[in-house]
Point group: D2
Chain length 179, copies 4
């Protein structure tokens, strides 16, 4: 059993989609704290790092394809700091929640961490939905307020409130998540 | 194939839990529109009425138990108008989303409605989560703004915005949902 | 955590379906050992008794309906000895595996037994499929050879071999299952 | 909607595991018919080819890793004839059934084929379990008798009988599956 699983959600994005212009500045604000968490997780034996990313409907893509397309996109500087190293766990998802139609729940049962840290994008969408699916499976969830990016600032705030009040998530600065 | 499935979510509540005092006034506001939808659904061949309710952790309860306990609770007047008639479809759920660990997705594949109407409680909790799980399964969702009850007014509003913007739900007055 | 969960699968049957004439004699052979297991489970604090039964496509039925219809069927003597007492856990399923589209996996995560005993019918169908779904979820499975009924004797034997060899199930006499 | 989805299950195997010596001769018998099906599927617009393979517990592997390890294994001649071409759909699974903890059901709902052809290994294990999970989801299943490989000949035969009798699968020669 490990202490903690760090989930890095949907950070491999080419920023060419609708709403990308609203999203990218928020990702720009979080990329440093997220990269800090990833870097810390790599050094620690008690933290499992798991990338999970949408396949954007392409069932022929492998993990490298998803990373490369993001690096070839509009905002490579929001991707480079967290590119997976060899030997990183990497799951593909097909819809918004990281739990839906993926092996994440199975993998987490095997790793059996005490808590999940959710980072990435989008606070009021995939982060919120993944937090919910973690909560109904009785995982303890931690969300770094400065490690999740929103499209809509007000809905992002509401999503954090929902996670805290209704899903018993702990909202912390990224710097405190691995203390 | 039917046109529409009307889901009545978590209305069998004894209102003895935490937050019941915040929730009950909002349910009081919606009970008439919800009862109107239930009554209309009963009369129409093209609408499938499905009750789905939490079992509150009691795996020995049957549907009648859940209804009776609600009628014996603090606010029977919020329960009586929508008590199931004989021959109503009734599913039990164990966590927040009506899709999690239930046969709802299976039943809906069999009934194959074009759209789902979500009514009941709580807007920013089970309604939101059920809307999400419907959306990721590509169901078209309709939510009557006056047919869903909240605990927190601001989060309830944010949840409706999330459903409309991010889950492509249609928000309508209850009176228009079955037009 | 309990030691053991005893699953009683699909014993509420009216024996009016295709293959009922082949199935009933085999159920007749197992009803006494199954009733013995049920009776023992009721007396023991370390055994969780869980009935799980097909709803035969009727989403309006409650647990009592399913039991009553079986008692009103062709072979009430194969039903009476294991009728649930008040306060028994009872889940409904909609297809062959007891795990598919039900809350069984969730309930078992909550109860957290060390092992599952599978009894009931049909060895080469619902028992086999439930054993598989238990195995892929890493539950330890015990099957009483004289506590599961078949339609086809050869396929029933093959199913027991599959469970033993490929799903690491332990095949035991019913009398030994709760030792 | 396409007519048919061809699933190629667990053919990327290094044949270094327990039972590999029993399995490989049977795979040797089926590799030509399976390669014939794959080749035919590639040429036809009405057939969706989907590879699905176990990740053998390695959540860091991508599709190319799984293929390369099989090519570097004991029996490359059982792998080479069906190596995926660029642009092939490829899913990873984590346990026996191709449906468990994967996006297969989701992908199939999107592609909406009329029927599934199951090929690969092992007849009495992953093929049987995938056939079951397809059947409970109401997919029509076709299994080419000379396109699935067994470890145990008797259990393989029993598995084919179970699929035919109890899961309404059609058992055909591979040559007839795409007629």
């Amino acid at each position: 059993m490990t202490d903690t699983a760090l989930l890095v959600i949907d950070m491999f994005n080419d920023y060419r989609h609708e709403d990308a212009e609203k999203l990218a500045p928020s990702v720009s604000d979080i990329i440093e704290p997220v990269a800090g968490l990833v870097s810390a997780a790599r050094k620690r034996d008690d933290v499992d790092l798991i990338y999970i990313n949408d396949n954007y409907g392409d069932f022929t893509a492998n993990q490298e394809d998803l990373v490369r397309r993001a690096l070839d996109g509009e905002r490579p500087e929001l991707v480079e700091p967290i590119v997976p190293q060899d030997g990183a766990r990497f799951l593909q998802k097909v819809r918004h929640s990281a739990f839906y139609a993926t092996s994440l729940a199975y993998l987490l049962r095997q790793l059996d961490p005490e808590r999940l840290i959710l980072t990435g994008q989008v606070t009021e969408q995939c982060i919120l939905y993944t937090a919910l699916d973690a909560y109904i499976r009785h995982f303890q969830v931690i969300v770094p307020a400065n490690g999740v990016a929103h499209i809509d600032e007000e809905l992002g705030k509401a999503a954090l409130q929902m996670m805290e009040r209704n899903m018993r998530a702990t909202i912390l600065p990224a710097e405190k998540c691995l203390d």
